[in-house]
């Protein structure tokens, strides 16, 4: 494949919180994470990990809502902190967000129409009210909503699933290249989740829209397919295609996550089987000491821990089908 400038790229992104004048305790929320989206081919990248692993912080960086303390966010090869105002407008239009809480993002005093009207006005999408109406209708139909039942209503009159789909419709209206979806379905019900994910798949297949899909639910990542990035304590510890990672997870942490997913089948129960890895956390709150940054952060609970794990941070080793940040794979790395 020809080397082209990625559309959106996180380049060695790190975010460190704290460490201000009054405090010496710092929290490394994101630690040297890189990935990219190209215009072609579009892809769905699922970012998974437990709460506090830095998923949302990465989303905020990509959206320009937080600035990485190390590394850069590049849009078409340019640092998003240094875009001209015209470029920034295009970036804002091409990178769209869907957030977790469909209840908190609407202004309750305005009808939902405003979500579309503002977008159309800001980006000058329509030359006449009739054209604007056509765009909105088209966008609503793309997410399986009936315009007549949706427009003119207030947010409280719509269900969570409808509100999340309106956010997708708004994104669709702007014809973005990338959608950053931060836990978009965690507050939706099973049946509505599927509808939402099907729309993301349609967007990719029909309109070439890539999605960064942030989730803690591995079965939804499996359903979407594409690629996966597993986060732990701010680090990317495994990356690859969903199929290879879920079929033969290389990092012990990914193995733990996969074995903890409840299978939706009463014939495949854990029963009394102890969790594959004892989940021991120090009784007191963990304060990451600076020296721990030079070790594998999973070492304390890893059943395969070796001397080297506490002395050196494993880099992302390239394996046959995927990459994993684990010293176990130092020898076999390609």
């Amino acid at each position: 494949m020809a080397v082209s400038t990625p559309l959106l790229e996180l380049q060695n992104g790190s975010v460190v919180f704290g460490g201000g004048a009054l405090s010496r305790i710092t929290t490394v929320a994101v630690d040297n994470v890189s990935f990219q989206f190209h215009e072609q081919p579009p892809r769905i990248l699922s970012m998974v990990g437990e709460s506090g692993s830095g998923k949302t912080t990465i989303a905020r960086c990509l959206l320009g809502l937080a600035e990485p303390t190390g590394g850069r966010v590049l849009w078409r090869g340019k640092d998003i902190c240094r875009l001209s105002s015209d470029e920034f407008r295009t970036y804002r239009r091409e990178v769209q967000a869907v957030f977790q809480d469909p209840y908190g993002i609407y202004n309750p005093y305005y009808r939902v129409d405003r979500v579309f009207d503002v977008a159309i006005r800001k980006f000058g999408l329509a030359s006449s009210p009739a054209k604007s109406r056509e765009l909105v209708f088209d966008a609503l139909r793309a997410v399986d909503l009936r315009p007549d039942d949706t427009l003119g209503r207030y947010p409280h009159q719509l269900s969570g699933g409808e509100r999340q789909r309106i956010m997708l419709a708004r994104a669709y209206l702007l014809r973005p290249k990338v959608i950053i979806a931060d836990e978009p379905i965690s507050m939706l019900d099973a049946a509505v989740r599927t509808l939402f994910m099907n729309i993301l798949l349609d967007f990719k297949e029909q309109y070439g829209v890539s999605t960064l899909f942030i989730t803690h639910d591995l079965s939804t990542a499996y359903y979407l397919g594409g690629d996966i990035l597993v986060m732990e304590h701010g680090r990317a510890i495994e990356a690859g295609s969903v199929d290879s990672v879920m079929d033969h997870p290389a990092h012990p942490y990914t193995q733990l996550l996969l074995q903890s997913v409840p299978r939706p089948d009463p014939r495949q129960r854990w029963e009394d089987a102890p969790p594959p890895i004892t989940w021991r956390r120090p009784a007191t709150v963990e304060r990451p000491a600076p020296q721990r940054r030079n070790s594998c952060l999973f070492a304390d609970r890893c059943p395969y821990v070796m001397e080297v794990c506490r002395q050196a941070r494993p880099r992302l080793f390239r394996l046959a089908d995927q990459q994993a940040a684990c010293h176990l794979h130092a020898e076999t790395a390609v």
């Binding site: 599927t194 099907n198 079965s219 499996y222 733990l256």
Partner: protein, 368 residues
């Protein structure tokens, strides 16, 4: 010798009969909320039975009335909410047997005597309601003392309780902020079983926990049932949680229980079209990569439930009768049958509220 044997057999038989008698029978329970726009009929006629020592799951999408139903059962509804109809028979243990009492008719004093000693409740998000300035052990003791246990006896029981939920005794000396979410949830569960109740009701016990912690909490609940014989009602919108844990389960839709059956029956041969849609919407890791259907449409509002069967506007098999008459939860005779073109096997004890199974016209239309 023989006589003694007969006595043992008789007492065993009495014990068996006792075990078979249901622990909790909910009959046509309704919970409405008064409003200027008319009553919000949040729970509108729900019926189910929970057996002794049973792990029972209550599932349904958000807003279907799951939490309100258990609050109704536990008499926790506050104005403007009220319970217009319904009976909740709880079999209260007494010397030499047990006696069913209607929880809806108990005085607040009688209820107080029953709570925690016989029925415990772990509300949603309760792990965040621990007192932040009190040690875990003291909070567990506090609860027991309030319900009449002597302080010294309560203190001695704490290590044993923590052990039951897989926590070390040293945890008793820690404050809530020193524990992870999963540990807090397990500490709350330990407190809930402190007085050996017959029934624990846990509302979304694993929501907001990471998957690896969720697994530990679910295994803890299964262990408690084995160790103490306590029956547990688990309320969760997450179907895989039920698949892993419960013996039997009920599915709610729009304020009513629409299907009850063993967990195997519900997952392998769901009867109600809504249940079928729900089960078909769960992505399975390692399964074929194909588009799942989901259930189109949106859940109705408690202010204006649809007429007849409340699922009919979203149901692919809706018939004329579904618009008119509200189907009643009925036990379906077991065995294989073909319903709306789908071959399925009804398991013993499987009930549903659907005209496809109960109306004679539907049976004729589908060749019986």
């Amino acid at each position: 010798m023989l006589e003694a044997g007969a006595a043992i057999v008789a007492s065993q038989a009495r014990q068996d009969a006792e075990d078979r008698a249901p622990l909790l029978q909910v009959e046509d329970l309704r919970v409405h909320y008064a409003s200027t726009a008319g009553p919000y009929r949040v729970v509108d006629g729900s019926t189910m039975t929970i057996n002794r020592h049973e792990l029972f799951g209550l599932a349904g999408e958000s807003g279907c009335g799951k939490s309100t139903l258990v609050e109704g059962i536990l008499r926790l509804i506050k104005p403007p909410g009220y319970v217009p109809t319904g009976r909740v028979l709880f079999s209260l243990p007494e010397a030499g047997g047990s006696r069913p009492v209607d929880l809806m008719r108990l005085s607040s004093k009688q209820l107080r005597a029953l709570r925690w000693r016989h029925i415990s409740y772990v509300p949603q998000g309760s792990m965040n309601s621990l007192n932040p300035v009190m040690r875990i052990g003291d909070q567990i003791i506090d609860g027991m003392v309030t319900h009449g246990v002597r302080a010294e006896a309560a203190r001695q029981r704490v290590p044993e309780l923590l052990e039951l939920v897989g926590l070390g005794p040293e945890l008793a000396h820690l404050f809530p902020h020193e524990l992870s979410g999963g540990m807090k949830q397990r500490a709350i569960i330990a407190a809930a079983v402190a007085l050996n109740p017959q029934l624990v009701v846990a509302d979304e016990p694993t929501t907001a926990l990471d998957v690896n912690v969720q697994r530990v909490v679910l295994q803890t609940l299964a262990h408690l049932r084995r160790a103490l014989g306590v029956a547990i009602i688990i309320v969760s919108h997450d179907l895989p949680v039920h698949a892993q844990l419960v013996d039997r389960m009920a599915i709610m839709y729009a304020g009513r229980v629409i299907e009850i059956g063993s967990v195997e029956a519900v997952f392998q041969s769901p009867l109600h079209p809504y249940t079928r849609g729900l089960v078909a919407s769960i992505p399975r890791i390692g399964g074929p990569r194909e588009r799942l259907p989901g259930i189109p449409g949106v859940a109705p509002s408690p202010l204006s439930w649809p007429s007849g069967c409340r699922f009919h506007p979203r149901c692919p098999y809706a018939m004329e009768v579904c618009r008119r008459a509200e189907p009643v939860l009925t036990e379906i005779s077991p065995g294989p049958r073909v319903v709306a073109g789908h071959p399925l096997t009804v398991s013993p004890g499987q009930s549903t509220a659907c005209h496809l199974f109960t109306s004679s016209s539907a049976e004729r239309a589908n060749g019986g």
